[in-house]
């Protein structure tokens, strides 16, 4: 079986004698038996640590959950700087969590979560921060400062949680480079290994924003002048 991997020097073809193997198993075999200079990240081997996300045939996958096919083309994630081979620097992407304030700001003592409430954000809290959605999002080619899919999903996680006493503050935070900058293209949803739809979460945040008195700024600009006669 042959795979080609994007490295600093360009694409390199490797031949491995493994059947029905995950991409991570293939990378490990290349690393330990053929070419110890190949760089990639991994950890859990079981799809929960988010270390091994990369692109196969231009689609984001977790290497430990993807079964290799002959002729696959392996590349690092997009929208982040490549450090070496398949290893990217996630610092800038992770910084979006900090800017978006994805944390519980203030604990509401009165809140009593029920079994039903638990379901409202169970899916969002399954995020493993693999960055696949970030890589797939087209907005980054035009706006580097976009808060982006996983951070906005993180915001929805707390906005929808009854234990958060100050959800309004979270809504305020995501108005610039946030909810209105998303094109709702759904690319993030298609690649998420955890079945999370950041697009859907962003739509819900837009609704909350409207309820809080905000509106789409591009919309406001376009029609702003026209109505005042």
């Amino acid at each position: 079986m042959k795979v080609s991997i994007k490295r600093a020097s360009g694409f390199v073809m490797y031949e491995v004698d493994l059947n029905d193997a995950t991409l991570l198993e293939v990378l490990n075999s290349i690393k330990t038996e053929q070419d110890s200079s190949l760089a990639y990240s991994s950890g859990c081997r079981s799809s929960v640590c988010g270390s091994c996300s990369m692109r196969v045939n231009e689609k984001e996958v977790l290497a430990c959950a993807y079964k290799v096919q002959d002729g696959d083309v392996i590349e690092p994630l997009k929208n982040v700087t490549v450090i070496r081979d398949l290893v990217v620097n996630m610092d800038k992407a992770l910084e979006t969590n900090k800017r978006a304030k994805t944390w519980l700001q203030s604990y509401n003592k009165e809140a009593k979560l029920t079994h039903e409430d638990e379901k409202t954000n169970a899916l969002q809290s399954d995020c493993i921060l693999c960055g696949s959605c970030y890589s797939a999002c087209p907005v980054y080619s035009v706006n580097e400062a976009f808060l982006g899919p996983f951070a906005l999903t993180g915001v929805w996680k707390y906005v929808s949680d009854k234990r958060e006493a100050e959800p309004k503050e979270k809504i305020d935070t995501v108005q610039t480079n946030g909810v209105w900058d998303c094109t709702l293209c759904n690319e993030c949803t298609l690649v998420c290994p955890q079945g999370i739809s950041s697009k859907a979460d962003i739509e819900k945040l837009r609704m909350k924003s409207t309820m809080a008195g905000y509106s789409d700024p591009s919309f406001a600009q376009n029609f702003g002048g026209g109505l005042s006669f």
Binding site: Y40, S41, N97, T102, S125, Y158, D161, R163
Partner: protein, 508 residues
């Protein structure tokens, strides 16, 4: 600039320690060789113990008694009492910072029963307890603006002339440069060492015992290194964990003849030994959950179905799952007192790299997540306190000149492939220092490890690149693993009698 508290490791233990130290007023810096959310803590599924009695009556005293019993006389009762009494507070704190625990119909935190517990005591978040705790702690660290440096690898700890700690020598994996991080105190939270069993381990590839080896090199005492817990249900080919809840929910263990051979809910060490005996007798061993039905499996064990399909090509709804018992948790580690202080002044340790004497010879499921929160906090507080109150932390901070392994490594000849040796050590340890131990086998294993240590200069790295050289990092990990292996096999040789996870068989 010198930090008050330097924390090495950003799993559940390290992040909790960081929050506690910062809360106590210290300046804090956290280093990890991965990213915080990639730490092994994310892999914990089962739950975290606290006697809340939310589902059926329970008491802290029962939690204490269960823990002491499982520890086979090797735990410190005071430490166990403290951990179990703090458990309800720990859960409340996690709830207040936003962990999405599963709930009961009446709005309490749901609890389930894990092995060795007299009541449903493990609080959980579906299949993802560790993931959700770790991510919430990370988010809390963002909120508190805690300084975290990713992809920084601890090479060695730095000490002063008087033997007390003064910082750490770090390899910046990205740039390939060495960095000195000076600090008044250091907290090690670098995780366990089950990866010495290589492919016979459920653990993350990062659990290579680096912190333990580095601490031992500066004279910190290790304790209970022979106690390695084997989990009964690792997948046969990949050793990936199939959660204990599969048996808890009614799964059977079968041999090739289709016979059940052990009470599936007996303690982990007993079940592991029974599985091992079957395998040594030439049987295959399977986990059978077919009778639970597709709907139940998809609702309650979705991850297990996914992993069995992916790694063993079997569908648990209609097929048997091939399994074997594999290394899962290491009870041993750096010896600490109740304040998480090691035998080196200014060096603290918490989490799986430390031995707080709460698990003894056998850990109960759900007690590790509890330990990392309760003692993570203790370690952070104690380290902060040390920097404010201990004169040693104020002494002249000139560190002794370190001997640098990276410099030495430049002359290594690279005649022997260390990757081959790494898997060889895994096989060796699984067979000779594994579920069942015999003195002759232990002696042989020790000899082989010592030989490999001597041969290290004949190994080395092939990749000479500076940037993100994982070949180099893996070689340094291998060096640490050999040190840890030696400590494990020596401790096993010293303990002549069977005790918990350390099971000795007479020579024939």
């Amino acid at each position: 600039m010198i930090t008050d508290v330097l924390i090495i490791g950003a799993g559940g233990a390290g992040l909790t320690a960081a929050l506690a130290a910062k809360d106590a007023g210290a300046s804090v810096r956290v280093l990890t060789k991965e990213y915080p959310t990639r730490s092994q803590t994310c892999m914990a599924q089962g739950g975290m113990n606290a006697a809340l009695g939310n589902v059926s009556p329970d008491s802290v005293e029962e939690h204490i008694q269960n823990t002491l019993k499982s520890a086979h006389g090797q735990a410190d009762e005071e430490a166990v009492r403290y951990m179990c009494s703090e458990a309800p507070n720990a859960i409340q704190w996690l709830d207040e910072i936003g962990v999405c625990f599963s709930r009961t119909a009446d709005g309490k935190i749901a609890q389930r029963k894990l092995g060795g517990a007299s009541a449903p005591r493990a609080c959980y978040a579906q299949d993802y307890t560790g993931l959700k705790i770790l991510h919430t702690l990370y988010e809390r660290c963002l909120k508190e603006d805690i300084e975290i440096h990713n992809e920084r690898y601890l090479l060695d700890l730095l000490t002063k002339e008087d033997g007390s700690i003064c910082g750490a020598l770090i390899l910046n994996i990205r740039s390939g440069e060495l960095e000195h991080h000076f600090a008044k105190s250091v907290v090690l939270a670098s995780g366990g060492y089950s990866r010495i069993y290589d492919k016979y381990s459920t653990n993350s590839t990062a659990s290579t015992g680096d912190g333990i080896a580095a601490a031992a090199r500066i004279g910190a005492k290790l304790l209970g290194m022979e106690f390695v817990q084997f989990h009964p249900t690792g997948l046969k080919n990949s050793s990936i964990l199939i959660s204990e809840s599969a048996r808890g929910e009614g799964g059977y263990l079968l041999n090739s003849k289709g016979e059940r051979f052990i009470n599936e809910l007996a303690p982990r060490d007993e079940v592991s030994r029974a599985i091992n005996e079957q395998i040594l007798a030439g049987e295959e061993v399977y986990l059978d959950i077919r009778h639970l039905g597709e709907e139940f499996i998809d609702e309650n064990l979705p991850q297990e179905r996914k992993l069995a399909l992916l790694y063993e090509k079997v569908d648990p709804v209609k097929d048997l799952i091939p399994i074997k018992a594999v290394a899962h948790y290491t009870m041993g580690g750096i010896e600490v007192d109740n304040k998480s202080q090691t035998s080196v002044s200014g060096l603290f340790a918490c989490g799986e790299c430390a031995n707080h004497k709460v698990h003894g010879a056998n850990r109960l499921g759900g007690n590790s997540l509890l330990e990392i929160i309760v003692f993570g906090r203790e370690a952070g507080k104690s380290a902060a306190h040390y920097t404010f109150c201990d004169d040693k932390s104020k002494n002249e901070r000139t560190c002794k000149k370190e001997t640098n392994f990276l410099d030495k490594l430049k002359s290594f000849s690279n005649e022997i492939d260390f990757y081959e040796k790494r898997s060889y050590v895994g096989e060796l340890f699984y067979k000779k220092v594994g579920i069942i131990r015999k003195e002759s086998a232990l002696l042989q294993a020790r000899k082989e490890i010592q030989l490999l240590k001597e041969q290290l200069p004949l190994m080395g790295v092939k990749d000479t690149g500076k940037v993100y050289n994982t070949n180099l990092v893996e070689f340094i990990e291998f060096r640490n693993m050999l040190d840890v292996c030696e400590a494990v096999v020596s401790a096993a040789l010293e303990r002549k009698e069977s005790c918990g996870a350390h099971f000795v068989q007479e020579e024939q």
